[in-house]
Symmetry: C2
Subunit: 168 residues, 2 copies
């Protein structure tokens, strides 16, 4: 099996390029919300590079995950939404889309705060393996990985992105 090499910085530039036409589809600028932790880093950089004012929201999937009993609150930080989600157009940003269970969880987390007008999903990498009928509106790369491996975004001290592939 050949090893997987994903250039996270190159993919980020493609994501940014893909976001620009997406943003023009809105009458008013949508609000970015990152899924902790990789999605938050992406949302923060997109917020700056797209020239949006304010800070993106942060979504934690911890409280609504269907494996909460196994994982507890170990992963995923705390939800922080510095705006009213009611009637808002939101774009949820995540690093890797896999089964769709995290997205179900963060949608429920969002709806705990209000009823958005719309929620789109953009991800850096779609690794397939969907277990729920969730699809991104934008995914820059599609890769296939064995279920035994995890894939997530990492960020170094200089703010540069890379991908971390690990055996579970």
């Amino acid at each position: 099996m050949s090893s997987l090499t994903l250039d996270a910085e190159a993919l980020y530039r493609e994501l940014l390029a893909g976001m620009r036409p997406l943003m023009t589809r809105y009458a008013r600028p949508p609000l970015l919300v990152g899924v902790a932790s990789g999605g938050v880093w992406l949302a923060q950089r997109l917020q700056a590079d797209l020239g949006l004012s304010g800070q993106p929201g942060v979504l934690s999937s911890s409280m609504h995950r269907d494996d909460f009993s196994q994982r507890g609150l170990a992963s995923g930080g705390t939800t922080q939404l510095p705006f009213d989600v009611n009637a808002a157009d939101l774009i949820v940003v995540d690093d890797v889309l896999y089964t769709g269970r995290t997205i179900r969880a963060v949608l429920n987390e969002l709806f705990d705060y209000g009823r958005p007008a719309s929620v789109k999903l953009v991800v850096l990498v779609d690794r397939g393996g969907r277990e729920l009928p969730v699809q991104p509106d934008l995914a820059v790369a599609r890769v296939s990985l064995p279920a035994s491996q995890s894939l997530e975004l990492a960020r170094d001290d200089a703010g540069q992105f890379s991908f971390k592939v690990q055996d579970k």
Copy 2:
């Protein structure tokens, strides 16, 4: 504007034809679950035409809808799941996919009963207008309708399907 004519019986035959290859992707037969009311009629007929034993499940979206405060329990019947959803492979069947809010609601309803291994979504008609990142695994027709009109499946006394288009 030309009027919309959808031959529901012809679309049902296409749905059935599309279901056969989908079914072969599973190691064991998946369980069908219809969304009340049109999706239940479809699931019942698919259950028979695909030669599956037992009865399909019935999902009501009433309890989890994000407009529950406006609609109350007026629509959608009662959830009845004649099997254990834990670790099950499920196929949710609905007549029309629109904003995705009903699907979010019925997924939450399902997860109240347990943690399925997988959930796929098949629909007769995708009318676009998505407000959440939900996508069907199979949709037989894609149509565009003004937001002022509702579209839903009807069934006559002989069990024949038709589509009902109404001004809201």
